[in-house]
């Protein structure tokens, strides 16, 4: 409803990003509409209706402007001086693919010429391939067995549920060729495994270490109606995992090739892609890599893309996609959004810029020259929120009307967060290509953690509770508290560090454990040991494993290397160091279901220990005999008392924790407890305690339930109470209801 008609200049000719509070280059964002379908719809609902809608919705979104698209980069990678060197051993497999999409059959017919290099220690005589699309081939595949027709709130379509990748032939190229100059071809045996998402190709000759083999695979991929990441919705198509991909040969000579399951996602080696797509001419296309040529051929178009040092290639196309462009430090950003949500391109681009600024500063330069974000149209929601190299899908922006924002209601989640999250995957699995099947927390969890830091960098406030995620009448819900609430009870059922297959869909913990709990454990560690050393450790991890396949133990080792195996956090009164044992922390957090939970068990006082009574002197003679003092009518003075605080570690998770107390003289003291015992008693001779609070800085993001972390001594009243607040809300709600109803 906010779009301008094509050719009608709006009051803002180009959307300025000057107001975006991030360190961004002086760049101009632009939005344009594809030729031939440039006019955006305007509802003809009448002036009064539109005025009313404007009043409620807050007509503050900028109108669209048409400017020249940002030029296609000429190289798929940024210059080496910017992105750094790429180790030769990372380059394992190259693809040259030609594919034709038949939108009537929703079918891709393709040929993939794959050059695979043996980087392992032994000769290889067979290669496992992933045929991920076969996860949707029948009701009894491993994927379907776990999903049972449901995926992230989407339901399997009853009319077009099935998708598959069918390999017709596999040939080895090389050897004596034919007279036409083509290389020789040798047909190879291939067969699917018991689950059709895996296929083995048996080579006629073993490939020695350091050598390469060139294969050509003829395949047909049938797309399902969009359900889980990939497929078609009317004329829109999202083609992900659409061609056969070899498994990963690990340094020890073993293969990592997994059955595609509900939570497993993907794993592949880096290499170059040269992909030629033959598509209907009127579709707007987005793909991994850069577009190197484009030709119209009647009702078809032929597009050729090149991507370098990536481990996957995806493309999308639709008739009603609006394009928007941006540039960040030489990285071409292209947004494809549905025409009826064209005004959402700018918030997505702003989120993209913020994510780039934060991720580059924290985890090193983004190596590729382009990034394409796609907001799938209505009906293709199942394709939203998925990452592929240099291309990802996001979700619609949650637009809070301006009047509500003025009243203090706002939210920073929704599509902008999806954009930050899916772009984050360009690092945490796109660049640091961990095995998403074996250790899904390494990509989803670390990525979610990095998303939190993007929020911190974009909106500020790294201390306290972090930047707000949502506001209700001006009451903020902070980042770290939001993460606490989001972990949920199901996060206590399953450990983080397990394979995707081992997660039980019925337990319902995959999301909260892999994403949120991992992020919480990383943020907890960061807040315990300090942001600076922690961020330095993460940078070293990111630098060390770019274009690699890091494992969890690599992350743990790098953190221990930078932070130390034992981090001294403070000392006890008798000088004993209180340390965080990094290995113990990771063991508990990653490989057990131990819960972090503390409670102030008691805040009280007792008469101070005196020296009345009989004591022996140095000669062994009993001396003294003073009687116990009588309690004065007005009660014991503070000096005669000893304040006591009992802190209970309710959960099994052992971690040092700080306790703050306010004493009767209104001074505050902080005590660090190593958290090893089940409880600790804190004594404050000569004073009483007004209140005690565990983890006053909120460092323990892993501690989800905090309502019992603060307690007042009996007779001491807090400034505000939960019961009082809820009582007032209830009373006010009744007043609003009854007053509004009557008479």
């Amino acid at each position: 409803m906010h779009q301008a008609e094509e050719g009608v200049p709006g009051p803002i000719a180009a959307i300025s990003i000057a107001a975006i509070p991030i360190a961004a280059s002086p760049i101009a964002a632009s939005i344009a509409v594809t030729p031939g379908a440039a006019t955006t719809r305007r509802r003809s609902s009448g002036g009064l209706a539109l005025a009313a809608a404007c009043l409620l919705a807050g007509c503050d979104a900028p109108p669209l402007a048409h400017t020249t698209p940002v030029a296609e980069p000429t190289e798929a990678l940024r210059p080496e001086a910017v992105r750094g060197a790429i180790p030769e051993h990372a380059h394992v497999v190259d693809y040259a693919i030609t594919a034709r999409y038949d939108e009537t059959l929703h079918q891709i017919d393709g040929r993939a010429r794959i050059t695979w290099r043996n980087r392992g220690p032994r000769a290889v005589d067979s290669i496992p391939f992933h045929l991920y699309m076969n996860g949707f081939r029948a009701a009894d595949t491993a994927w379907m067995e776990q999903a049972r027709g449901q995926h992230r709130g989407e339901t399997l379509d009853l009319e077009d549920p099935w998708g598959y990748a069918d390999v017709a032939t596999v040939e080895r190229l090389g050897g004596p060729g034919a007279s036409d100059g083509e290389p020789g071809r040798t047909a190879l045996r291939h067969a699917e495994a018991s689950d059709p998402t895996l296929m083995t190709v048996w080579l006629d000759e073993a490939v020695p270490p350091g050598e390469a083999v060139e294969l050509e695979i003829a395949f047909t991929t049938k797309l399902p109606r969009v359900f889980a990441r990939t497929g078609f919705a009317d004329r829109y198509v999202m083609a992900g995992q659409w061609f056969p991909k070899p498994g990963v040969l690990e340094p020890d000579g073993s293969w990592s090739a997994h059955v595609f399951t509900l939570f497993s996602e993907f794993y592949a080696d880096f290499g170059d892609y040269d992909v030629e797509l033959d598509l209907p001419a009127d579709l707007v296309v987005g793909a991994s890599g850069i577009l190197v040529s484009h030709a119209q051929e009647g009702s078809r178009q032929r597009l050729r893309y090149r991507a370098q040092m990536v481990h996957d290639f995806a493309w999308t196309a639709g008739p009603d996609l609006v394009e928007a462009w941006d540039d960040y430090e030489g990285i071409r950003i292209r947004a494809l959004v549905p025409r009826d949500r064209a005004d959402q391109a700018e918030p997505h681009l702003a989120a993209q810029r913020a994510a780039l600024a934060s991720m580059e500063a924290r985890f090193g330069p983004y190596p590729w020259s382009t990034i394409t974000l796609v907001d799938p149209p209505e009906g293709a929601e199942g394709a939203g929120g998925m990452e592929y190299p240099t291309l990802y899908t996001t979700s619609p922006v949650t637009a809070v009307p301006k009047p509500l924002r003025m009243l203090g209601f706002d939210v920073r989640l929704g599509g902008e967060f999806t954009t930050v999250h899916e772009f984050g995957h360009q690092y945490f699995q796109g660049l640091l290509a961990s095995n998403e099947y074996a250790q899904p927390w390494l990509d989803e969890g670390l990525n979610t953690f990095s998303n939190m830091l993007v929020f911190v960098d974009r909106w500020g406030d790294d201390g306290g509770d972090g930047p707000w995620l949502a506001k209700l009448a001006g009451q903020p819900l902070g980042l770290y508290d939001g993460l606490r609430l989001d972990q949920g009870d199901s996060s206590e059922l399953e450990v983080i560090d397990q394979t995707a297959w081992d997660f039980t869909p019925l337990a319902g913990g995959y999301g909260s454990v892999t994403y949120r709990k991992t992020a919480a454990l990383m943020l907890t560690l960061r807040r315990i040991v300090g942001a600076e050393p922690f961020d330095a450790a993460m940078r070293r991890y990111a630098d060390r494993h770019r274009f690699g396949h890091p494992r969890g133990r690599d992350l743990e080792a790098t953190l221990a290397e930078v932070l130390g195996e034992r981090v001294v956090l403070g000392h006890t009164a008798d000088g004993r160091a209180i340390e965080l044992h990094l290995a113990e922390y990771f063991e508990q957090a990653l490989r057990t279901t131990r819960v972090m939970d503390f409670r102030v068990h008691k805040v009280t006082s007792q008469p101070r220990l005196g020296d009345e009574g009989w004591h022996r002197d140095e000669h062994g003679t009993l001396q003294g005999g003073d009687p116990l003092p009588e309690e004065p009518p007005e009660g014991w003075p503070d000096e005669a008392l000893e304040g006591l605080v009992v802190v209970h570690r309710r959960g099994e998770f052992v971690v040092p924790v700080e306790i703050e107390v306010e004493l009767s003289d209104h001074t505050r003291e902080r005590v660090l407890w190593d958290g090893r015992g089940r409880f600790v008693v804190l004594r404050f001779p000569g004073k009483t305690v007004r209140w005690a609070s565990i983890d006053p800085e909120g460092r323990l993001v892993l501690e989800g339930k905090r309502y019992d972390n603060t307690r007042y001594a009996e007779g001491k009243q807090p400034e505000a109470t939960v019961s009082g607040a809820l009582g007032r809300v209830a009373e006010a709600s009744t007043l609003a209801l009854a007053g509004g109803l009557g008479p």
């Binding site: 603060t710 209830a730 609003a736």
Partner: protein, 258 residues
């Protein structure tokens, strides 16, 4: 304008009724608040502390840990609203009679005589209002949500003024008590009389805005704000409602006089 001022005069002529109605609403709300406070205090036990810098998290943390608190709050508030609604319904003939200038025994007799008709006509108006909302909802479905919300709210308020007109007709003009036509005539009557409908709808909007302000104050001042601001706003809200009714009474009696 004279109808509007006449309605206001009728309200100001019965300040004790205004105050009494407000005290009644405040008493019901006070009981609801106390009940919820007791429920929440029992749920959190000795940990009844709210960190004002993180009040929203503090509240949500408790609501998710003790799952009875949230539903308990909602049910108690709805029960309070229901009690208030029934009280408004039953007492409305009395209020109308008083705004119409009756006193003493005559006041009681007028109200008692009008009560059964008011109850029946209020039931008919539930159907009428429901039907109106459905028609508005269906006809505006293709339009943006915001237009739907605005139109729906206006339709709701128009139906409210129509109910006022029907009740006044039953209590003061001896309209047919049981027949649905009386309810329908109330709607037709106000639609044909913008001098009544427009101020009635505006005052209704004022009531809604006041209710919104009350809720906003409660949330914005979570844990700290005084409930007295909300109580005083309710005095305004009740006054606006009585004024709205007074306008309809004024219009009816002025028509009779003509």
């Amino acid at each position: 304008m004279s109808v509007i001022l006449g309605g206001l005069r009728r309200l100001l002529g019965a300040p004790g009724w205004w105050l009494g109605a407000w005290l009644g609403v405040a008493a019901i709300a006070g009981v609801v608040g106390a009940q919820v406070q007791v429920l929440a205090a029992a749920a959190v036990g000795p940990f009844d502390v709210l960190d004002l810098e993180r009040a929203l998290f503090g509240i949500v943390d408790v609501l998710r840990i003790d799952r009875a608190v949230g539903p308990g709050l909602v049910v108690t508030v709805l029960a309070g609203g229901l009690v208030a609604g029934v009280a408004w319904l039953v007492l409305s003939p009395l209020v109308i009679a008083r705004l119409a200038g009756h006193r003493g025994r005559e006041l009681g007799a007028q109200a008692v005589a009008g009560l059964p008709g008011v109850l029946v006509q209020s039931a008919w108006h539930v159907l009428l209002r429901g039907g109106l909302m459905v028609v508005v909802g269906l006809s505006l479905r293709p339009l943006p949500d915001a237009v739907g919300w605005v139109s729906g709210t206006l339709a709701w308020l128009v139906a409210g003024v129509a109910l006022d007109a029907t009740r006044v007709a039953v209590v003061e003009r001896e309209a047919a008590r049981w027949h649905i036509k009386t309810a329908w005539r109330g709607l037709v009557h106000v639609v044909r009389r913008p001098s009544v409908l427009v101020p009635g709808v505006l005052l209704g909007l004022g009531q809604l805005a006041t209710s919104g302000a009350i809720l906003w104050l409660a949330l914005a001042g979570l844990g700290t704000g005084s409930i007295w601001a909300a109580r005083l706003l309710t005095l305004v809200s009740v006054g606006l409602g009585l004024w709205r009714l007074g306008i309809v009474v004024e219009d009816a009696l002025a028509s009779d006089a003509e």
